[in-house]
Symmetry: C2
């Protein structure tokens, strides 16, 4: 039996595992770090839709972290852990290697969730995988023959995948159970704007639509998606992009405590409930809402990366230099020239959490005067708690600055800024780079004006 | 004698006066508002360089506020105030009209500063004026005949004007007294990058250069700028863009208390030292540094607009919903595809203020993977106070998101975030909209790593 001794063993090679490794290398120099992952080549998940349109193939640099891992002196092993002995700090790999460790980071990520729809096993039904060979096969062998694609799930990945595929001239239908696409991240009017954009590009949208079955033709290959109410959508390929579920099989066999939603329970430093030398990060780790501390939050690569850094920072002792402040979910997306970004709670989510809210809104242009080249409208909506006027969330619909505006809203949520703070803050302006009045301070001001202050 | 009674009299039609008016109309409905300004048509100051290149002329919507003023029901009078009787709350206009008011906002702005250089009165020597007719004359009648322009002053306006003019094929020299262009806003390496870009476009840069005289040819028209050391720069037009000085003539005749630097002394609500019913906003009003509370700060349209809003909000009573938190100077600029933005103190300014500092830096791309279209590098530098690790300032060199990244740094300064806060904050990421790792959190993390934490 091969034996290997390491200081830090990381199980999983996604953003959480990668950043746990590189952060440890920097923060605790001299430690031996070993990373185990099943994929020979792994992809950046949020880059996957662009393989099929914008990028026209899998670029070498969609395979992240190779250079960082090498530079940090991290040993990478392709394989998987078959068993773990927590007491003796030992793991056995699929090739029989026995690894002993000082610290363990579990970063086993998530698996695409495929509900038990009849026909889901048919030829021509796919999910989004981070594995290079799966996506490469999809790009090189499947897509060139596809004439009509049905996307089940109208979240970020579904919407962006649909738009990129549509660029190749393929007919696309999006099927969503909720009344709107993207409704977890945005309030209705913004969802409607994205829907209108997609429809104008020729994408058919079916909301409030439940899939009953995926159906096959005579030759056994998928040929339609059947919805409740007996509506049939013809399709020669189906992409299921409903979401992901934490991959916790290994953690379960280790006897680690799981959260109510089936993720590994962790504290503010990503340490498991059960053992301060075992950390969990990313999609497999429990998420806690920033405001309510209740379990919840979306699974995002950016969040996994942040958690990987927190684990690395605190691996051999806590300093409160980096900790998990709670999940606020900052994200952005784009279809064509229309970008959309969000941070924190939507109005609907805030009301569900039992907040009374005040909404502030602002509309402007992203450059000024309007005659400046490439000027597009920006819409900003901010959601505040009614009494404290603390910022709960915000949404942006706009152009190339949308992602950073969403990040700025995220920063303001995490510093617990109020509408009065934000309205008082100075911002810079420049004809080519910003609006004439900042959409975030304007929206905060609009929230203050909504209040009847005497 | 014509008599006019108003509730709010605003003297000056720049961003400060405009926003004081529109904010009052919204916050205190029913008040009569009168705004006096000398310019029949006034320009957005930071848009002026673009008249000469990108925009190819003066666009109607470079004349700001006409619609907002009308929509807010504000009466605009073209003219100026010749005398003020503070005791009786009366002002006399140049046409003899007597106006009485309840509240007064002084927003008389600033004048271009032209040092006593011999030859400054020659034909062919210009400054930057907000007056439409002056710029229109410059654009229509002067520039078409110019073959070689010398710009005196290498700040934002000088640099952007030079680049826009260069686009028209005109030879351009920039003359700057300091060792670098833009050195008040950026540390040296970023200034150097901008200088290299301008030089690559064929613009000649003369730093550490003092102007001794502007010289005329035989026909009396300017034909050169003479520097100390007897270097001569041929030029058939000279633009003086050294900066501006508060326009406080009227305030002085009113007997208002002036600050040490010659601006109208105001409190956190823009009220003058002398009378809580008289407010001053914008370039004519005193600025106070956010960190040290010492007098200082740059004169910016965005700051004037913010102060106008603060005055309007607090005109008939304080609520602490909006106040002046102190000046941090957030700004951005761009030459060609290279954008640069800054907020707060440079490293040099922080050291001059007697801070011990830690600098964190990050380099990344503004999209990922690198093969995504229009991807450009982003450099982020953050300056922290050494012991508290509170954010003092930051600088960005990058692409279209530069302005909003500078604004995000501004927000973080104003919420008094520390490097540990920022490194812990979640950010979103998207291949088309952001970097793979956020430059601001990365730079904060780099500052933490610089510290020897045991």
């Amino acid at each position: 039996m091969n034996k290997l001794q390491t200081d830090l063993l990381i199980i999983g090679g996604g953003p959480g595992g990668l950043l746990a490794g590189t952060t440890t290398a920097r923060r605790w120099p001299g430690k031996r770090i070993t990373l185990i992952r099943p994929e020979k080549k792994a992809l950046i998940p949020c880059g996957i839709p662009y393989i099929f349109g914008t990028l026209g193939g899998i670029e070498e640099d969609l395979l992240p972290g190779q250079d960082q891992l090498r530079a940090a002196g991290i040993e990478v092993r392709i394989g998987w852990v078959v068993s773990v002995d927590r007491e003796h700090r030992e793991a056995v790999l699929d090739d029989g290697t026995l690894i002993t460790w000082e610290r363990l980071v579990i970063a086993t990520g998530a698996e695409p969730f495929v509900p038990p729809i009849p026909g889901r096993e048919l030829e021509g039904v796919f999910t989004i995988h981070k594995d290079y060979s799966y996506q490469d096969h999809l790009f090189r062998e499947v897509m060139p023959g596809v004439k009509r694609l049905a996307v089940i799930g109208g979240g970020f990945i579904g919407v962006e995948f649909a738009e990129e595929i549509r660029k190749r001239g393929i007919e696309v239908d999006i099927i969503e159970m909720m009344p709107h696409l993207l409704i977890k991240a945005f309030d209705e009017d913004i969802c409607s704007r994205v829907e209108e954009y997609l429809q104008a590009k020729g994408i058919r949208i079916h909301t409030s639509s439940e899939v009953e079955a995926i159906e096959a033709g005579a030759e056994g290959h998928v040929n339609a998606v059947r919805l409740k109410g007996n509506k049939k959508i013809p399709a020669d390929a189906v992409l299921i992009a409903i979401g992901v579920r934490p991959n916790i099989e290994l953690a379960r066999t280790m006897g680690l405590t799981m959260s109510q939603h089936g993720a590994i329970m962790v504290d503010a430093f990503q340490r498991t409930q059960d053992d301060p030398t075992i950390f969990a990060v990313g999609d497999c780790a429990q998420k806690q809402d920033f405001f309510t501390r209740r379990e919840g939050g979306v699974l995002l690569a950016s969040q996994a990366a942040a958690e990987g850094r927190i684990a690395g920072m605190n691996l051999y002792g806590l300093q409160l230099l980096r900790h998990n402040v709670g999940d606020i979910a900052v994200y952005a997306g784009a279809v064509g020239e229309l970008a959309f970004g969000a941070a924190g709670m939507t109005a609907a989510a805030a009301r569900r959490a039992d907040f009374s809210i005040v909404i502030g809104e602002a509309d402007c242009l992203d450059h000024y005067p309007a005659a400046m080249p490439d000027t597009v409208p920006v819409h900003c909506r901010l959601i505040f708690a009614r009494e404290s006027l603390q910022l709960l969330g915000g949404q942006i619909l706009g152009g190339p600055t949308t992602g950073e505006l969403a990040n700025a809203i995220g920063f303001l949520i995490q510093t617990r800024a109020t509408a009065a703070d934000i309205a008082s803050f100075q911002t810079g302006m420049h004809p080519r780079l910003t609006a004439a009045s900042h959409p975030i301070t304007e929206a905060a001001w609009s929230a203050l004006s909504v209040e009847e202050i005497q």
